[in-house]
C-alpha cells in the first residue's frame, strides 16, 4: 500500500488539466501513440470542445520513481464546474492528495479556490503546480504569491511545468510520490468502498468507479449499497489504465471499477458506500448527499410529432446522467414537452447541446427558472418549478425564493463594476477581502437572478476576469410577482416569469421590446404585451409585412422559384405557431438577452 498514490487535479477550465493528465498517461506508458487521441480523459465531444470534464474518469499508472521503486499512481479526474461541486467533493474525498494546477499567467480563479477549500477541508494534501510556464506572459512569482495569499498554502517551490510542451512532467510525478501520503486502510477490515462516479455501459450495465477505503472486494462477493440498501452480486472488478483491465480483487487504498449487473444508474449513487453483505461495515463513509436539481427549464420539440423521440433521447441521456430529471409537461403555447431539472446552467446547456447534436433534436427551451416555495393561505407549502404554474396570488400567503452564497474573485480594477452588478441583482454583501491583486467578494443573492443572466453579465463587466462559485444557502420570503407575456392578446404560458416586484415593470418593458426585435414581421400586426396580473405594463407592435411575393415567374423559373419557397417554408417550420403568430425559438429565451446592447 505504501507504493500507492491516489490524487486528482484541481484546475480552472482551460488551465490545462486534461492536457496534463494526458502527459502523465503518455509518460507512464498507459496508452501507445496510436491510442493517444488528444485529451483521452475527456471522452465526450462537448467536453473536448469546451475543455470541461463532466464525468470523473481515472487512470491507474505505473511510475518508476527516481528512488528506483515502482509506484501505482491513481489519477482521478474531477469535473471542473460549479454545477458539479458535489461530484468534485466525492472525487476529492477518494484521494490523499490533489495537484492544484494554476495557469502561470492568469492566476487563481474562484472555482479553483472553492475546490481547494473543499480539498483542504477533506484533509487532502494540496500540491501547487504552475502550468503554461513557457508562455511569454507567464508570471510564476506573482502567481505563486497569489496562491499563498488566497488559498493559504506554501507555493514558493511550486513545480513549474508546461503540459503542452511536456516541461516538468517528471518533476510533478516525483512531487506526487514525495509529497502525497500513501493511503492508509485495513485490507482485512469490513469493506468500505466509496462510489466516485457511475455510468451506464450498453454491454455490462452500470459501471462504478470506486475507491476502496477498507477491506477487499472480489468477484462473486455479494455487495450492499449502504444508502439505498440494495444488494447485488459483484461480477467483475478492475482498473482503468485508462483502458479497462480486469483484476482478481480491489483492496484498501486502491481505485478501480465494479460491475455488478445493475440496470439503473440511480441504484449506484455517487457518494454512496459499498460494503459486503457477509461482513458489513458499521457505518457508511461520510458526505453522501442526494443531489437535487437547482435549475429548471421546459424543453419542447419544435415539431410536436418529435415528442416521443425527445423522450427517448432524454431517457438515453439519463442513463449516464443521474442528476438529469424530467417529467412530461403540457404548455398551451408549445404543446407537449418536458420540464427538466438540472444541477445548474452549464448542465442545462450541455444537455440541450447533446440533444441537438447527438440526437438531432430541434428544440425550444424556455427561460431557466429556480424552485420557489409557495406558502398557501391554507397552510400548504408547495414547490413551483414552472412560473406559469404559480397559483393565483389571492390564495398565496408568501413566496420564498432560494438564496445562494456566491463567492466572486475579481481583479481590483473591476471590483466597482462587479459590486454594482451584484446590487442590481438584489445581492447583499457579506464579505470583501483583498488578496494580492485580486478581491474576493461574498454576496448573498437570489438564485433566480443568477440563472437569468448573471454569468454573462459578470464576464462582460469584468472583461472575462471575474470568476464565480456559489452554493445554496436557504429559502427566503420575497415580494415576487408573475410577469406574463401576451401575443395578440393570448397569454403565452411558456414566456411567464417570476420576478421581483421592484424590477417587474422594467423587466416587462425590456422583454416586450426584445420580443419585438426577435419576432419577424408577418402578414398582420402582432401586439406584444407584458402584464402583471390583469395590469398591462408594456406594449409593443410588430408591424405587418406589406407583401411577400416573387416579382417574376415564367416558364423556365419553376424549379428555382420552388426551391426558394421551400426554403421559406423550412424557415417557418423552425418557428412555433402560437395562435396564428409564428414565434422563433430564440424569442422563448428573450429574457436572457434583456439589457444587452
Amino acid at each position: 500500500m505504501k507504493h500507492i498514490r491516489n490524487f486528482s487535479i484541481i484546475a480552472h477550465i482551460d488551465h490545462g488539466k486534461s492536457t496534463l493528465a494526458d502527459r502523465f498517461i503518455q509518460y507512464c506508458g498507459g496508452l501507445d501513440a496510436r491510442e493517444m487521441s488528444a485529451q483521452v480523459l475527456d471522452s465526450m465531444d462537448i467536453e473536448k470542445e469546451r475543455g470541461i470534464t463532466i464525468k470523473a474518469q481515472t487512470a491507474a499508472l505505473q511510475y518508476r520513481a527516481r528512488d528506483g521503486e515502482v509506484y501505482h499512481l491513481n489519477l482521478i479526474d474531477t469535473p471542473g464546474h460549479v454545477d458539479f461541486s458535489y461530484e468534485v467533493s466525492r472525487s476529492l474525498s477518494a484521494c490523499e492528495g490533489a495537484l492544484l494546477v494554476v495557469d502561470a499567467s492568469q492566476g487563481v480563479e474562484a472555482q479553483t479556490v472553492a475546490n481547494c477549500y473543499t480539498a483542504i477541508e477533506l484533509g487532502v494534501e494540496v500540491v501547487p503546480v504552475l502550468n503554461k510556464i513557457d508562455l511569454p506572459s507567464a508570471e510564476p512569482e506573482r502567481v505563486s504569491q497569489e496562491i499563498e495569499d488566497i488559498i493559504g498554502i506554501e507555493a514558493v517551490d511550486a513545480v513549474r511545468a508546461s503540459a503542452k510542451s511536456g516541461i516538468g512532467i517528471e518533476d510533478i510525478l516525483e512531487t506526487v510520490v514525495s509529497k502525497i501520503p500513501a493511503p492508509v486502510g485495513d485490507p482485512d477490515a469490513p469493506l468500505k468502498a466509496l462510489i466516485i462516479d457511475s455510468w451506464f455501459d450498453n454491454y455490462v450495465g452500470v459501471v462504478m468507479l470506486v475507491r476502496v477505503v477498507d477491506g477487499t472486494l472480489r468477484p462473486k462477493d455479494k455487495i450492499k449499497f449502504m444508502a439505498t440498501g440494495a444488494e447485488h452480486l459483484c461480477e467483475q472488478v478492475g482498473v482503468f489504465t485508462p483502458k479497462s483491465v480486469q483484476r482478481d480483487s480491489l483492496s484498501a487504498g486502491q481505485v478501480g471499477f465494479i460491475i455488478a449487473g445493475i440496470k439503473e444508474l440511480k441504484s449506484a449513487k455517487v457518494g454512496d458506500t459499498i460494503t459486503l453483505v457477509s461482513k458489513p461495515a458499521v457505518a457508511a463513509l461520510p458526505g453522501f448527499k442526494e443531489v437535487k436539481p437547482q435549475v429548471f427549464a421546459g424543453l419542447y420539440p419544435v415539431e410536436s410529432h418529435d415528442y416521443d423521440s425527445l423522450r427517448d433521447a432524454l431517457e438515453k441521456l439519463q442513463l449516464n446522467d443521474a442528476s438529469l430529471q424530467f417529467e412530461p409537461e403540457v404548455s398551451q403555447a408549445l404543446g407537449f414537452g418536458f420540464r427538466c431539472g438540472f444541477l445548474g446552467l452549464l448542465h442545462l446547456e450541455i444537455v440541450q447541446e447533446r440533444l441537438e447534436r447527438e440526437f438531432d433534436m430541434d428544440l425550444i427551451t424556455t427561460a431557466p427558472t429556480v424552485v420557489y416555495q409557495v406558502l398557501m393561505k391554507d397552510g400548504e407549502l408547495i414547490e413551483v418549478e414552472n412560473p406559469s404554474r404559480l397559483p393565483d396570488l389571492s390564495k398565496i400567503d408568501e413566496i420564498r425564493e432560494p438564496i445562494i452564497t456566491s463567492t466572486i474573485l475579481v481583479p481590483q480594477d473591476y471590483v466597482g463594476a462587479v459590486m454594482t452588478l451584484c446590487n442590481q441583482k438584489r445581492g447583499v454583501q457579506r464579505n470583501m477581502q483583498y488578496m494580492g491583486r485580486q478581491v474576493m467578494l461574498t454576496y448573498e443573492m437570489p438564485m433566480n437572478e443568477v440563472v437569468m443572466d448573471f454569468f454573462d453579465k459578470l464576464k462582460s463587466t469584468s472583461r472575462g476576469y471575474a470568476s464565480l462559485d456559489y452554493e445554496f444557502k436557504e429559502f427566503q420570503t420575497a415580494d415576487l410577482v408573475k410577469l406574463d407575456i401576451l401575443v395578440n392578446s393570448e397569454k403565452v404560458d411558456a414566456l411567464s416569469l417570476i420576478v421581483h416586484r421592484a424590477t417587474s415593470v422594467y423587466r416587462g418593458r425590456e422583454l416586450a421590446a426584445k420580443m419585438r426585435e426577435l419576432i419577424p414581421r408577418q402578414m398582420f400586426d402582432i401586439a406584444i404585451q407584458a402584464a402583471i396580473g390583469s395590469h398591462i405594463i408594456a406594449r409593443e407592435t410588430v408591424k405587418a409585412l406589406r407583401k411577400n411575393v416573387l416579382a417574376k415567374c415564367y416558364g423556365g423559373d419553376i424549379t428555382r422559384k420552388k426551391k426558394l419557397l421551400e426554403k421559406q417554408k423550412a424557415g417557418k417550420k423552425r418557428m412555433k405557431q402560437v395562435g396564428n403568430v409564428e414565434i422563433p425559438q430564440a424569442a422563448f429565451l428573450a429574457i436572457l438577452q434583456v439589457g444587452d446592447k
Binding site: 409585412l545 406589406r546 411577400n548 411575393v549 416579382a551 415567374c553 423556365g556 419553376i558 419557397l565 421559406q568
Partner: protein, 393 residues
C-alpha cells in the same frame, strides 16, 4: 392465374395549348441584377449559324408535339434584337415551315434600347414579329447607370418611338425599388413610359437574385420593404387610372392586350423551349415532362451537333403538380376555373380541398362553386399562399 397490372394513368383527357419559346443567349453586356441565361458577346456570335441550330433543335423536338398547333412564339434572351433581320426572317420562316402556327399567333420579341435602328425594326415586323417587349427599366439616367444598363434615358425614348412606330402591341419593362429611388422618381418613370402609349407594362420589384453581381455587392440605398410597398401601391393606382388591368403579379395591360404567351405559362399550358438553356413543359397521356437544354451557348451547340440539346429531362411527380399549378394560376388576378385544375393536372379536386379551405380561412383566396381567385391579401402574400400547397417530402 392472371396477373393484373395497373399502370397509373395521368387522367389527362385533353392537352393544353402549346407555345414556343426561343432563347437568344447573347447581350452587349451582362447587367449586375440579371440572373437569366445571358452571356456577353465578347467574341461576337454567328446569328445565322445559331438560327440554323435552333431550327435543328425544333425539328428534334417535334415528335413530342406532333400535330399540335403552336399558339404563341416568344423570342427572349439575352437581347434578341441583336440579331440581324436576315436571321430573324430565317428563324420565323423556319418555324412556320416546321410547326402549324395558329392564325394570328402572337409573336413577341424582346428588345433592348441601344440596339434600336428604325430600318432593322421595320424588317423584324416584316419577318412576322407582331409584339415587342422593350427592356427600359427606368428613364432616370442615374438609375440606369447604377443598374449597369448600356443605354441612357434619351436612347430609351428613341427606342420606344421606333417600337411604337412599327408595332401596335408593345410591352415596356420597368423596375422599381431601385437603389436610391424615391416614390416620386418611380412614379415619374411610369409617367414617361405611359406617355409613349404602350399597350402593356411590366413593373418588377428589383429582386437581388443569387449568383448575380448585386447579390455579391449589394447596391447602396435600396429602399426598405415599406418604401418599396408604397411604390408598388402607387404604381398600381396610377396604372389603374391609365386604364391598365393588373392581370398578373407584375403585369399590366390595356383590355385585350395581355401577353398571350405568358398567360399560357400562368395557365399551366405547354411550351416547347429551343435555344441555349431553354425550358420546356410538355404534357402527354403519360404525364408531364420538363426539359432543360444546355445553358452555355457552346455546350448547347456541341450537344445539338451530337444529336440532343437536352441536358435534363424529368417527369413531374404527381405529388408536385398541385403546387406547380397553383404557383402559376394564383399569379393571375382572375384566378382560375376549378375545372381547369383537373384538366391540366389530371388530379381530382380532392387533392387540394384541404389547402383551399385553409387559404380561404386565412383570407388569401375567394371561392365560388366553380372558381378560385386570390384576394388582394393573397396577391400581396402570394408566397404564404403558395407554401400551403408545398408538400413535405
Amino acid at each position: 392465374m392472371t396477373q393484373v397490372v395497373f399502370t397509373p394513368h395521368t387522367g389527362l383527357t385533353q392537352l393544353p395549348p402549346l407555345s414556343l419559346y426561343v432563347h437568344f443567349p447573347w447581350c452587349v453586356r451582362k447587367c449586375p441584377y440579371c440572373d437569366f441565361n445571358s452571356h456577353e458577346a465578347r467574341a461576337g456570335f454567328d446569328d445565322l449559324a445559331y438560327v440554323a441550330a435552333l431550327l435543328r433543335d425544333l425539328e428534334l423536338a417535334l415528335p413530342a408535339v406532333w400535330g399540335r398547333a403552336v399558339h404563341t412564339v416568344f423570342i427572349g434572351g439575352g437581347t434578341p434584337s441583336l440579331m440581324s433581320p436576315a436571321a430573324m426572317e430565317m428563324l420565323l420562316d423556319g418555324i412556320r415551315a416546321r410547326v402549324r402556327l395558329a392564325p394570328a399567333a402572337e409573336i413577341t420579341m424582346e428588345a433592348n434600347p441601344g440596339t434600336f435602328e428604325a430600318e432593322k425594326f421595320k424588317a423584324f415586323r416584316a419577318a412576322g414579329v407582331n409584339r415587342l417587349s422593350v427592356g427600359i427599366q427606368s428613364f432616370d439616367d442615374e438609375a440606369l447607370r447604377r443598374l449597369g444598363r448600356i443605354h441612357d434615358s434619351r436612347q430609351a425614348h428613341v427606342a420606344l418611338d421606333i417600337a411604337l412606330h412599327h408595332f401596335d402591341n408593345v410591352n415596356l419593362d420597368l423596375m422599381y425599388a431601385l437603389p436610391q429611388q424615391t416614390l416620386a422618381l418611380a412614379l415619374d418613370d411610369l409617367s414617361q413610359g405611359l406617355a409613349h402609349g404602350v399597350t402593356h407594362l411590366s413593373a418588377y420589384h428589383l429582386t437581388i437574385e443569387p449568383n448575380t453581381l448585386f447579390s455579391r455587392y449589394e447596391p447602396a440605398g435600396l429602399p426598405d420593404e415599406d418604401r418599396a410597398a408604397d411604390m408598388q401601391e402607387a404604381l398600381e393606382a396610377r396604372l389603374a387610372e391609365a386604364g391598365f388591368m393588373h392581370y398578373e403579379t407584375s403585369a399590366f395591360a390595356r383590355p385585350e392586350r395581355q401577353c398571350q404567351h405568358n398567360l399560357n405559362y400562368w395557365r399551366f399550358g405547354d411550351y416547347l423551349g429551343i435555344g441555349a438553356g431553354a425550358h420546356a413543359k410538355i404534357s402527354s397521356a403519360e404525364g408531364i415532362v420538363r426539359e432543360m437544354r444546355h445553358k452555355q451557348p457552346t455546350a448547347y451547340l456541341q450537344a445539338l451537333a451530337a444529336g440532343d440539346a437536352v441536358q435534363t429531362r424529368q417527369r413531374v411527380a404527381r405529388s408536385a403538380l398541385p403546387f406547380e399549378f397553383m404557383m402559376n394560376l394564383l399569379r393571375l388576378t382572375e384566378g382560375f376555373e376549378l375545372a381547369l385544375f383537373a384538366e391540366r393536372t389530371g388530379l381530382s379536386l380532392a387533392a387540394i380541398q384541404r389547402e383551399l379551405a385553409q387559404a380561404e380561412s386565412r383570407g388569401l383566396i375567394e371561392r365560388s362553386p366553380t372558381h378560385v381567385r386570390p384576394t388582394l391579401h393573397g396577391q400581396r402574400f402570394l408566397n404564404d399562399l403558395l407554401t400551403l400547397f408545398l408538400k413535405d417530402d
